[in-house]
Symmetry: C2
Subunit: 145 residues, 2 copies
């Protein structure tokens, strides 16, 4: 298995609402057959009906999305003010701020919000994880533990 | 907000078990402060304690991981036999096959498994989504709906 991810699919309960949320944050995608595909760097971020997504993987969707699904997506930015700006945009678009922007224990500035289905995003300015010009991340060499 | 993801963090209940699972699939990462970082294309896939991850986002972890967390990661490969091989490797590593390999409704060959914490992966050979040499995906132009 190569070390890569091709698609991240978010199960959603209202496709139009979720599409509008990400579009309000500036994303642009393609809607095809009740599915929205966003190009996100070298992979696709996809919105698809939660029940269909679960069934497609042979899993039970459950009645309600859990408070915490177990996966967090991080979007790192290049300075602290971008964290504030993006958090404000997410709130304005209908997201829920679950962690106000602050310096965390490690010492970098971050915040978190959930999208309309409760999918969690962390927004961070972490100088220890510098981004390339195109936004890709190459992990630092942490050295031997 | 740029259309990109910096990190995908999987909340796990037993870091050593999860690290061993992904290593058995061929991944190699760095363990630092009870966190495992894998370089995955232009982003990082991270394993971190489920309770710590939830708390870091201001969310309640809940007692048990849900049957379906709401997000599916897809790993696309280049031919059908790779789907079979990877599924067998995931089963051997301790994953749970939730969807046996088969042609899906769209007509491509895919399967799904969950990792030790129930995080869902779809494995697919989708000729409609050709991969670049480096494994990155550029979504096709689906045309106007």
């Amino acid at each position: 298995m190569e070390q890569r991810v091709t698609l991240i699919t978010l199960g959603v309960s209202d496709l139009a609402r979720s599409k509008a949320f990400y579009e309000a944050l500036g994303w642009q995608g393609q809607e095809v057959q009740e599915t929205v595909f966003f190009q996100a760097g070298g992979l696709g971020l996809v919105l698809w009906g939660r029940d269909k997504l679960a069934a497609d993987c042979g899993l039970e969707a459950g009645k309600e999305p859990p408070a915490f699904g177990g996966i967090v997506l991080a979007h790192n930015v290049r300075d602290d003010s971008e964290v504030d700006d993006l958090l404000a945009a997410a709130r304005a678009a209908g997201g829920t701020v679950t962690k106000p922007a602050a310096l965390n224990e490690i010492g970098f500035y971050s915040a978190a919000f959930t999208d309309p289905d409760g999918h969690a995003w962390e927004i961070a300015h972490n100088p220890g994880f510098p981004l390339a010009e195109d936004g890709t991340l190459t992990l630092p060499d942490f050295g031997r533990p």
